[in-house]
Amino acid sequence: MEKCISVDKLARPENHILVSMEKMRRARVDQGLTPFNAMPYEDDFLRARLHGICVGELQAMEAAGRTLFDFPDAPWEFQLDMARQVWDESRHAEIYMKLLDYVGSYLGEFPETEVLWSCTQVDDPACRVAGINRGLEGLACDVFEQLIRLAQKMGDPVIERAVDYVLADEITHVRMGSKWMRKLTEGDPARLAKAQAFQENIDNLFNFSGGRTTQEDAKQIHQKLGNKEVEFDATLTIAKDARLLAGFTEEEIERLIKGMGKSAAY
């Protein structure tokens, strides 16, 4: 069986719409919107964000499974961690499918893109966990923390608690990534540097061209959600506390903050 498979090899039903990030970017720009994901000030933010996370969880499940398959010579404990992550991500996907229903959406309302899958395209388990577990799951910590705060403002315990349960798992996934990035590169500083550079590329990819700030620097705007109107962040924020819990160092978080705005990923 082929290793490091490309996105077009992912099994999807015929009625599913999976488009390249470039097509998605063009669709948004043609409507006068920012080129990346739905922003907190957009009407569709909550549905689109939950949908993006849901398909992200599906791809994360597939990615952990592929990591297990792609690196059969990796330590047994590493494989066990990846298998556990497959199970975690499948539960997350189910939770988000229920949340989609809750907010009046459904899997397939929005297209899926390949951007998360592109982070699996590297033939080294250390890079793979650096990129996916530390880069992407770190980003998930940011996105989930913001969703929890939004749910708190909406007074919605369903979203708040559901996302909090998932966030708890993501924190363990980041820790897992940190552990294996270091273990797999022990005594090989060049390999460690390569893994860190891969993660940094992913961090930069998701900087959203300055559409991401610290929580303190986030401009507040009116956001209508259901029948409620709340003041909320105009930007995507970095969850410093959750990232510290996940094992990121102060220095790493600072670097992430300083890097914000330098990328034009999409």
Binding site: L18, R47, G108
Partner: protein
């Protein structure tokens, strides 16, 4: 089996917002476009495309053999804000099935085509 109580009284979270449906007029327009393509009237369909999509649509129309497709189905939909993605399939007894995808938006009471892709040889749901 232990008595688990009255399950009818146990309710999960109720939806907080209604679903947004795909406009029926859009689906009707796509069905009309599929008819035009299947009848070899691609030029008529091209008139519905924005300037940047006219070439794409002409190429798509040129790849559709006229008169060989008797089954035209919309198989998938999705949306990005107010732009809709519609995937459709044309098939016939003597023709290789053709899968195509449009991105469309409303312009007053008509629909515009922003993108048109031939997905026939794409594996899975991937659209390059």
């Amino acid at each position: 089996m232990p008595d688990m109580g009255y399950k009818d009284n146990v309710m999960g979270p109720q939806p907080i917002a209604p679903r947004k449906s795909i406009p029926e007029s859009l689906l009707a327009t796509v069905r009309h476009i599929l008819d035009l393509l299947a009848d070899g009237k691609g030029a008529d369909a091209s008139s519905m495309a924005v300037d940047s999509a006219k070439d794409e649509l002409s190429q798509l129309a040129a790849s559709v053999k006229a008169g060989v497709y008797n089954d035209k189905r919309i198989v998938g939909t999705a949306r990005t804000n107010d732009h809709f993605w519609i995937k459709a399939k044309l098939s016939g007894p003597d023709a290789k099935p053709l899968t195509i995808q449009f991105r469309m938006s409303a312009d007053g009471d008509r629909w515009l085509i922003w993108e048109a892709s031939n997905l026939s040889d794409a594996r899975s749901a991937w659209t390059k």
